[in-house]
Symmetry: C2
Subunit: 344 residues, 2 copies
């Protein structure tokens, strides 16, 4: 157990970057003023932060999973542009008292998730740079870079009326996991595996990167990070279309979340009351639906495309684009406000 304060900064960087495997695109890797890499095509770049007490708390902190989450949320953004990830820059601010082993676990998590994405997408995704600072709060800021052939980038703005809406991966699971964590159930040894797996999705989401390759040329694509309604709403708004979601297509996702919804309803209301079971069931269904519609962070992907006879592997059809604007569920308008770091 060695704290960062006992090591020099360069020693720390050497140790944590030893987890990293250099990609063939790397001409000058970490250690100079900047990295130099060979790029093929247009550059795709995105940056996302995870901040202690905002995106995670010390109580749930698992450094390895935090690394997975930080990498996944950035890699998924590159991936849904139809791009091939190229490398990561990892800037990290941690307290002086942090143990080097925890930092190594964090970087191992980042490298593992980059490796998983690289396997899915057939590319190497090295850590090519970054920064390490002392701080009162843990902050992880990752920039993910990628490349895409000319005119091949998939944006949010080209969905057309008549397109089908497809979903890859899951939605709602991370939000359910977060509510379980807030309810303090994660220390419960009796907790059903189906519930602990929701917590895992919150702490270490595993986007289905390979699904993007299966989809091929979509008219629009987005990473569901702030919730289905919000993110489909972004495609609708950018493309000038109405997104009609088919509730029946979400039923399987809702049903998977019912045990967690019932668990939380039970925790809140107490199981002592025999009455109102029909009402309790309706409330659980409503909560599960809310997770599916408004919960981000699983990093499921939503795409619009001309309808396939059979959805590509990893995708399910969940609705269609129509003339108009906004988002509806079986025709009833759905708010698209979603998650904001600053209220509203």
């Amino acid at each position: 157990m060695t704290r960062l304060s006992e090591l020099g900064e360069s020693h720390v960087l050497e140790r944590i970057l030893s987890h990293n495997h250099s990609g063939s695109q790397v001409i000058i890797g970490p250690g100079d003023d900047a990295a130099v890499t060979a790029v093929d095509g247009n550059l795709v770049s995105t940056a996302d932060m995870l901040v202690e007490n905002e995106d995670f708390t010390r109580a749930w902190l698992d450094w390895g999973r935090l690394g997975i989450k930080a990498a996944a949320q950035n890699l998924s953004d590159v991936c849904v542009m139809g791009a091939r990830p190229h490398g990561l820059l990892v800037s990290l601010a941690v307290p002086n008292s942090t143990e080097i082993e925890d930092l190594e676990a964090l970087f191992a998590g980042i490298v593992a998730e980059a490796g998983r994405a690289g396997e899915d997408l057939g590319c190497e995704i090295p850590i090519i740079g970054g920064d390490l600072s002392s701080s009162g709060l843990i902050v992880i800021a990752i920039t993910a870079l990628g490349t895409v052939a000319d005119h091949a980038a998939i944006t949010r703005s080209d969905a057309r009326p008549g397109d089908s809406i497809y979903l890859a991966g899951t939605i709602g699971r991370a939000a359910a996991g977060l509510d379980l964590l807030f309810a303090g159930v994660d220390g419960d040894a009796e907790l059903d595996e189906s519930l602990t797996s929701l917590i895992t999705t919150q702490l270490a989401p595993q986007p289905d990167y390979a699904a993007v390759l299966q989809m091929g040329a979509a008219s629009a694509m987005i990473d569901v990070s702030d919730g289905l309604s919000t993110d489909v709403g972004r495609i609708a708004s950018a493309s000038g279309v109405h997104a009609r979601i088919d509730r029946a297509s979400l039923q399987e996702l809702i049903d998977e979340l019912l045990p967690a919804a019932r668990h939380l309803a039970g925790a809140i209301e107490g199981a002592q009351s025999g009455e109102g079971t029909a009402q309790a069931a309706a409330e659980a269904e409503e909560l599960a639906l809310a997770w599916v519609l408004n919960g981000g962070e699983d990093h499921g992907f939503v795409a619009s495309s001309a309808q396939f006879d059979r959805p590509p592997v990893g995708w399910r059809r969940i609705g269609e684009m129509r003339v108009g604007n906004g988002v509806s569920l079986d025709g009833a308008p759905v708010p698209t406000s979603g998650f904001s770091h600053f209220g509203k």
Copy 2:
């Protein structure tokens, strides 16, 4: 006066990015999952963070200057690779209570410094992406991207014995400014302009980007961010050479810092004592030398190159590379430990 908590995140992003001017290389700008930009040559990338209470304090906080500093420390790293800056990604974590006007000032500072660098280097440097988070502490994480022609990148590792060592810009001023800030003199209305300008260098350094173009092909180049001895030591270590610094070449830089050194010596020892003026002068000289040798953050540039008959515009010769290792001042070994975020 509007606090972020009264606005939605997307509204905040819209307002602050209105300062930004899109470059001609931008194919898809901020607002999608990732940006897409056209790159010409190899990609150069670097990331650096500024963390509250580590790199600046609330007491000295000037949001516009903080933006300049954050941009400058990243752009200078791209620049000393011999690269042309391409764009910035700005991830920002700030308290909910932050006023939108302060955030706009921060971004205006970033855009102003990127504009200054772009004018020096003949390129456009737009903000192409980023993230905005709520946080208990202010954290600014910038990734700077650039491009460089094949084999044209200037590293730290190709300095040769016999090369001259050149310096562009200043060293020591930001460190002197920091010590003045720590001494609490910045509220002093009587403070001499030469002293307040040192504080400005600490809060808003202005690297001489154009000097890099004047130098042309150096054998090695580095941004002095952790101090001359440390950063020249990095070239020496990476290149397997000894860097001999000529003290006389630094005298002008030392002399410029003497008023600040005397001011601080006076503040500490009191001006009451008439004795020991020779000793006081020696102490001031020693403090000024320490700033010049060990103070980073002006973002001066050091390059090694075959000796010029006359140094390129903006550069001064400060020593030469020899066979051996380490750094010396007029032959006396100089420690190269420099600044570390984690002690040691």
